[in-house]
């Protein structure tokens, strides 16, 4: 086996050039996932009647299906659905005119929301009941209790898990090459199509992913330290 370092560097350059696409695909679903995921977690925690049940069903389904299948299913549903509607209303626009990156974002978003809402629900449950009771007893409204007392304690507790959620999404973004989005990994692979040096391209992509995720991990550790000033130091 001979490994072409020079070609790996070329593939890596190409991968780095498309890193912004991967970052977009990871961070947009992540940020929106935190916002919507927090809402879903609250809805489920407080047993909001119909909505809570509905969200539970959605999460159970999403958690049980491989990400790649979700991407493919959403791709076909969106493409065929759009074309049906376009035909019905005689639009000149067709699915092939739409950037597939939106399909990828939608698919990754549905995955991210399910995982993140579970993370946040766990963190909310970890906040002691007494904290809710004390906050209610001084006359706070539901909103004030959540905003001032519960979420400021739950979110820092959720941070390590959120970090691994983000890393999970980041790794899942590599699957979008299945619907021909050109991201970090696809860009590296395309350079290899001419000379079949796939191993070099894969290793190049792997290194870039590893650096990205390592950076996220590092930032998460710094944030964790900052947010937990009120916790006891010492044992850990």
């Amino acid at each position: 086996m001979n490994f072409d370092f020079h070609f790996m560097m070329i593939a890596m350059k190409e991968a780095i050039r498309y890193t912004p696409v991967t970052l977009l695909l990871a961070f947009v679903p992540f940020v929106l996932g935190i916002l919507l995921g927090t809402l879903i977690a609250l809805v489920r925690l407080f047993h909001v009647r119909i909505l809570g049940r509905l969200m539970q069903v959605y999460i159970v389904i999403t958690k049980g299906i491989p990400v790649i299948l979700q991407i493919l299913i959403i791709y076909f549903v969106m493409v065929q659905g759009f074309d049906t509607i376009a035909d019905r209303f005689h639009w000149s626009l067709h699915s092939k005119d739409i950037n597939v990156i939106y399909v990828a974002l939608t698919a990754l978003f549905t995955v991210a929301v399910a995982n993140i809402s579970e993370t946040i629900r766990g963190a909310l449950m970890a906040v002691n009941r007494g904290q809710y009771e004390a906050a209610y007893s001084v006359g706070m409204t539901h909103n004030q209790v959540l905003r001032r007392i519960i979420l400021p304690q739950a979110l820092p507790a959720a941070l390590p898990m959120l970090c691994s959620n983000l890393i999970g999404i980041m790794k899942s973004t590599s699957l979008v090459f299945m619907i021909s989005v050109v991201d970090l990994m696809n860009a590296a692979l395309i350079t290899a199509t001419a000379n079949y040096k796939y191993l070099e391209a894969y290793v190049a992509a792997a290194i870039v992913y590893w650096v990205l995720n390592g950076t996220i991990e590092k930032i998460s550790l710094i944030l964790e330290k900052r947010f937990s000033v009120y916790r006891k130091e010492g044992v850990f």
Binding site: N128, G130, E133, V138, G139, M140, Y230, R231
Partner: protein, 250 residues
Amino acid sequence: MIELKGVYKAFGRHPVLKGIGLKVAKGEVVVVIGPSGSGKTTLLRCINFLEKADEGELTIGQNHYHFKHASKKDILSVRRQTAMVFQSYNLFNNKTALDNVTESLIITRGVAKNEAEAIGRRLLDKVGLTDKYDAYPCRLSGGQQQRVGIARALALNPEVILFDEPTSALDPELVGEVLAVIKKVAREGITMIVVTHELAFAADVANHVVFMDGGIIVEEGTPQQLFFHPKAERTQQFLKRILPEWNYDI
């Protein structure tokens, strides 16, 4: 003045409070005693709607409330006229001692921040925590945390402060400092309902003692009456089991 009438509460099929009536005059200190599981704590928690009683009425000053039909607004209004000191302190973990005291003033009463902080410092001084303004709860001992809890309750200037076994989670050495603070507050004429197992303390500060068992008030009266001339057999039984421990102090 606080008045409770016909308070009934069941957890599932198990009744915990079977029609409680209680009257507390302004500035009075009422101590509720009784064995574990007699419904003392539940009664206290029903007063500020941490538990929702099934039946009964509550009067605070001029305002009347029905437990069964209380709206969200009613509940909030009751909670803003009462304050609670918890057995397990329940200080806000993400806030410093001073912020714990000022938080509700700023958020629920709309007091300006610097004004609230002045009040907060004054109250922390009063409970003897002058050097702990900026300490987080995890840095305070149990006794110190409970004193912050009392300051937090005082800050709201409530119609009544509800003490739910305020010293039960403390080790014996720290009980004294907390009881001393409660005594000091009681002398200032703040209306209090105290659930406690500290009978010597009850005899010392209470104007009125209530003995509860099995979800009803068995007997009530002045400390003198209740402790030294109990009428009901159940009260005599209960006191006999506990009295020898503190008989010498009186």
